[in-house]
Symmetry: C2
Subunit: 743 residues, 2 copies
């Protein structure tokens, strides 16, 4: 097959995914919404979520417009003709970058809104389906999640492709060569929005969760999701705005930024291919887009495999679909590498064609994705040692529960780092075997191998995101069932689904971390490529004094070391601000619910309806206020460090910050997930004393486990996921603002 | 004054410090031991501590002998004639390195034993003095601490000097040039012992603390330090073996390793001085020893300034002494730099003599030390925002207490990293202004500036260590007073001293972290110097194929990135193992105390004496067993990474691991200290409700604060301090085993 024919897969797969998502949405929306009581709760949740999203995205949009103008102005001022990395510069480049930033930001916002739109409508339908059938409930929740998964990934694919086309990427030759550098603003815009979406949503959801639990369960002694608790609707709203909208924006920017980074690396291969007269040199740049197109098609097929019997573990149904996606992705990868990495007669190590080496590197990426799915299950599911250990430690109270949970969280970095290390080493080594050498003789294949691995990993993003959104939908379905006092059978099914949803949410975080780590290297290399393009022009122009190319980011250079130290610190400091924001917002909720209990005595005997809307409103305002400081710190710190310490140091900050961020996010996500499931382990009656008696709900051990769960909430759902975004924001910020930092 | 005359200060100050320590020890030992009841408790504590130390150090000594043999064999095999970094190689070098390792290990063990010996005798005398006078109690405790402080620092000074002399360092010329490289084994031996001493002691002390609290305060409802609790003696023993012996070994190895690293950097300056015909080129190598000699003399004077009135805050008395040490150290630094860094007519930037630039760099080090004293106070003392914030969060239960504490812990990295960054940048910049250029034109002064700053900081180590040991002595004095049911007045005084001791212990950790960070850079540079010496020989010999000098530790190199990732992971994984070891050991204690309560019913009405010795014995065995795994992981990981990924990658692991270790230790130490003092803040009646009523002991808020305190225990006294040692172990291990990693 011809490579340019294969490129058609990009728009075809993108549009197919959108159409399929519309079909799924129609399917979900046409389903039974259950009795009026359910619909009432669901309507209240939807109104709260709509109100939050509207206000949050208005704020973010305003910030994004300011951001776009500032970036455009900075680029205009600094990326002048003699320093520009491409033929486009000055005001022209400034406008294009600002425009790309805005398009990226808009697509990212659209992803969040879409995820939210469908999830607040799927929850009640899942609850209604749970009154009849487990399989039907799984399918409603999974299809609702898939709408979000497909649209987010398709938007990212079509968005990057569209802006690439708009900036001349389809012209072939120099236009195609330059376009990847011109679209970096798109990635920055996406990161920028994702940061605030994740922070605002994460603060909202966990403040509502923690606040509602403390004031309801602990203080007033009423059950979770009890309608007498004025904060309970805010809690249910939180699942949607944090987990759905936040994670959607997170993965949108991951795929966009990593895709753009891989295209920049493709430029190096493009030059080699052109020089060597390989067929279709531009295919090396288009490769990331094509491979993602195949991933979307694989996921469409896989959705039909999410089925099973009423007695089956729902996790098995989802796993089945995941494996179908993975296996079909391998096939898609094989086709893509074979067609697009055609090097004519040139061969790599051992006489094996380069495309085979890159195919294997892509398989490494897919394998890493699978590995993380199982690693996360081991550390956060109740059937294995870590969760049992925390549950056992709960017998001696909250202190030992917390200590055990921290030990488990810290421990999870081991297998995470080793797996990432092996994946990076293997994909890099496979890449070097392909024998891609630049004109000056240095190897390009190794880094390109890590890029192929990253893209391989990203093939399954739509399915992963569907599984992720499955989590908050089923969580909400449980809340709706509880709140509307649905029949016990329905609540039993939603409880089972909720437990599975907890696992799938944890899996997605593991996946996001793994892809961020694999991608770190590629984004870092893209930054170096861009810096050297600019410095190369400066050297040619001779206007900037003696300049040398950036061949090494030397840790023995004191500025690099300091920048690395600050990068690692930023990760902790940012998490501190995010965690504290949850505490502050939760306090505001607690004060309000206490007031309602005090001033509306009829609430406790159900004769008065609590003012849910007021709590939702207070939470919304507090969360949006609290997201500003950590967001500003995240954006400002790399810029300040880059300005003070220069372009080599900021690269050190990026790398060390990535390492630190990935590991701390692992600790926070897995620790939090393990605490959560240790509580569930006890609630399910799995913990026993020396004589074999069950230590279940309402025991001191359970109370201790609830403390651990509450501590883990802001870790795993606010700080941890925000760190994913922070890590990639570091990459996109340095990529876009590189001209500012060169000295 | 002549530089070689000034070198005499090294043995003089060392011996003076030893004599002064003996005088202080006589003074303390001659004091009143109080009533028989006090002496009985103290004897029981002493026996337990002796038993632990004997068994621990027997184990460690055996490990050290094995370590020495292995290292000797490895050096013999790998550092052969054509790759040796000096004229000494093969079996000769192997034996010397093994010997230096053993001497370092022995000195480190002696430091631990001495610290312990005097502290278990000062505790009862402090308690007895507290029956009469606050000032006297402060003096007994501080003098007891100073014995340890002086002997540890003097041993480190005389040990490094002695082994340096033994290996030809006093011969002048090539002998002096080579000797710093030959003594690196001394630093490794010290680190090796410190690691196990800190781990074993840290696990012991916190397991006893946590276990005793859980089984006594929480389960049986009896007060802390109540004689009916069989674990209470183990808890008091723990203060000595963990805080005294552990921290003594920690600071011993800090001073030794950093001193040796600075001498290695001095070799570069020595070469420049020789080429330029400056007077006394060898003075650049001797400089670190001389400056530390002045630090010891300054501390001797300062001890006499620890005095005050009965109504004064005891912290003020200690601070007065600390300021005297600092100011006299500035004078000592001025003399040393002026005499020893005599560059004849050569001048640095702006026509200012090089020694002035280096003097200023040294002042930066002293200023950093002062800065950390105040930063730590801000974050861990009850009068400031962070501790108050945690106390306030305790009102809503243990979960919010933990969340607030984690937020504070994470936050402390900000000011830590910024301060270290400024100190590194300033001392490096000042150093570059001195204009020390190597023969190939690259700047040597910058790194040497950071070395001078580190040595400046180390001038106050003896005083800091005295203040640190003050902590466990007063803590123990409180326990002795409580246990022997001493008069209320005495207990009130020991309580006041204990609160001060908590702060001084926290200060020392801040100090240890700051010095480790400053030193990271110098040890790293020493490693690069050593690697390049070896590679230089290999290039000359031409036997090893094409070799290039290590000019850059390039983060863009995938092996370096992976090694950095593993270095940062090691920090978490090691902490996880250390924290879990505390939990496991505490469980063993809880089981035993429960058994005693059950089988000896007379304990509760004081008619039966609990079997304290058995708990001490169980704790000892469990702690020693539990220290092996984290210790082995810490030693093995850098060796494995170095062997697999080579000499450049291991340097990346060292640097990124140091950054990660310093920051995580900051989080653990300060978080733990803040939790501890939040509990004390509530106990002192400072927390109030909305109506101004005190929320004190035995309230739910206090219970929540106790949970935080318990969580913080293994953080701040096991994992955190062990990380200090880990960071320096990474440095000494790479320094000694460098020949193994070169490829």
């Amino acid at each position: 097959m011809d490579a340019s024919a294969l490129q058609l897969i990009i728009p075809i797969a993108g549009i197919a995914a959108v159409l399929f998502a519309l079909y799924l949405a129609r399917d979900v929306l046409s389903r039974d919404k259950g009795p009026q009581a359910m619909q009432d709760v669901a309507d209240t949740i939807r109104e709260g979520a709509d109100a939050f999203i509207k206000r949050q995205y208005t704020t973010i949009a305003a910030l994004a417009v300011v951001g776009a103008i500032v970036i455009g102005a900075v680029i205009t001022a600094f990326e002048t003709k003699d320093v520009a990395d491409t033929g486009v510069f000055g005001i022209d480049l400034g406008i294009r970058t600002g425009f790309a930033f805005l398009v990226g930001a808009a697509c990212s916002m659209a992803s969040g809104i879409i995820g939210m739109y469908i999830s607040v409508r799927s929850n009640v339908r899942t609850a209604a389906a749970a009154r009849r059938s487990l399989v039907e409930a799984v399918q409603v929740a999974m299809r609702g999640g898939a709408v979000s998964g497909f649209l987010v990934v398709a938007l990212s694919l079509l968005g990057v492709y569209g802006i690439f086309a708009a900036f001349g990427g389809l012209s072939g030759g120099q236009g195609t060569h330059d376009a990847p550098f011109l679209i970096v603003g798109f990635g920055f815009g996406a990161s920028f929005v994702a940061l605030f979406a994740q922070l605002g949503g994460g603060i909202y959801t966990k403040a509502a969760d923690v606040g509602s639990d403390l004031v309801g369960k602990v203080e007033a002694g009423i059950p979770e999701d009890d309608p007498r608790n004025a904060a309970v609707i805010a809690d249910l709203v939180g699942d949607n705005v944090g987990d759905c909208a936040g994670r959607g924006a997170d993965l949108f920017e991951s795929t966009a930024a990593e895709n753009i980074g891989a295209m920049i690396l493709g430029v190096g291969a493009f030059a080699i291919a052109t020089a060597a007269n390989w067929p279709n040199p531009q295919a090396w740049i288009f490769f990331p887009l094509v491979v993602r197109g195949f991933g979307l098609l694989a996921t469409i097929v896989a959705i039909f495999f999410v089925r099973g019997s009423e007695t089956e573990n729902p996790m098995n149904m989802l796993n089945r679909g995941y494996w179908v996606t993975t296996i079909l992705s391998v096939v898609g990868l094989l086709i893509t590498t074979n067609v697009m990495m055609n090097t004519g007669t040139s061969v790599g190590a051992n006489g094996i064609a380069p495309w085979i080496w890159f195919f294997l590197a892509g398989v490494v990426g897919l394998a890493t994705s699978v590995a993380f799915v199982y690693i996360t299950q081991y550390y956060t599911a109740g059937t294995f040692r870590p969760v049992r250990e925390i549950a056992e430690a709960s017998k001696t109270g909250p202190a030992t529960n917390i200590i055990a949970g921290m030990a488990v969280g810290f421990e999870t970095t081991f297998v995470t780092a080793i797996t990432i290390g092996i994946a990076l080493f293997a994909s890099h080594w496979l890449g070097t075997q392909a024998g891609l050498k630049a004109a000056d003789g240095h190897d390009v294949g190794g880094i390109f191998g890590t890029a192929v691995a990253t893209m391989g990993m990203l093939m399954t993003t739509a399915f992963i995101l569907a599984m992720d959104t499955f989590g908050p939908i089923t969580d909400n379905a449980g809340g709706v069932a509880e709140f509307s006092r649905a029949e016990a059978g329905a609540r039993e099914i939603t409880d089972r689904l909720d437990a599975v949803g907890n696992t799938t949410k944890a899996l997605t975080k593991g996946y996001a971390i793994a892809s961020a780590s694999l991608a770190a290297f590629l984004l870092f290399s893209a930054y170096i490529d861009k810096v050297n393009l600019i410095i190369g022009r400066q050297i040619e122009a001779g206007t900037q004094g003696a300049r040398v190319l950036l061949t090494s980011v030397n840790l023995a250079n004191v500025d690099v070391f300091i920048a690395g130290l600050i990068g690692a610190m930023l990760v902790y400091f940012f998490s501190s601000l995010a965690i504290r924001a949850v505490g502050t917002t939760a306090q505001a909720i607690i004060v309000e619910v206490r007031r309602q209990f005090r001033e509306m005595p009829g609430i406790m005997d159900y004769s008065q309806r609590p003012d849910y809307a007021r709590v939702v409103d207070i939470t919304t305002r507090a969360a949006l206020r609290q997201m500003v400081l950590p967001g500003a710190v995240a954006v400002a710190t790399p810029i300040i460090v880059g300005l003070l310490l220069g372009h080599e140091a900021i690269a050190g900050m990026l790398m060390v910050g990535t390492i630190a961020g990935v590991l701390l996010a692992t600790v926070l996500n897995n620790g939090g997930g393990a605490w959560d499931n240790a509580k569930k382990y006890i609630e399910s009656g799995n913990l026993k004393d020396e004589d074999g008696n069950v230590i279940g709900k309402k025991t001191p051990a359970h109370a201790a486990a609830v403390v651990g769960d509450t501590v883990g909430d802001p870790f795993k759902d606010t700080a941890g996921p925000s760190l994913h975004v922070l890590v990639k924001l570091l990459a996109t910020i340095t990529l876009v603002l590189a001209p500012l930092f060169i000295r």
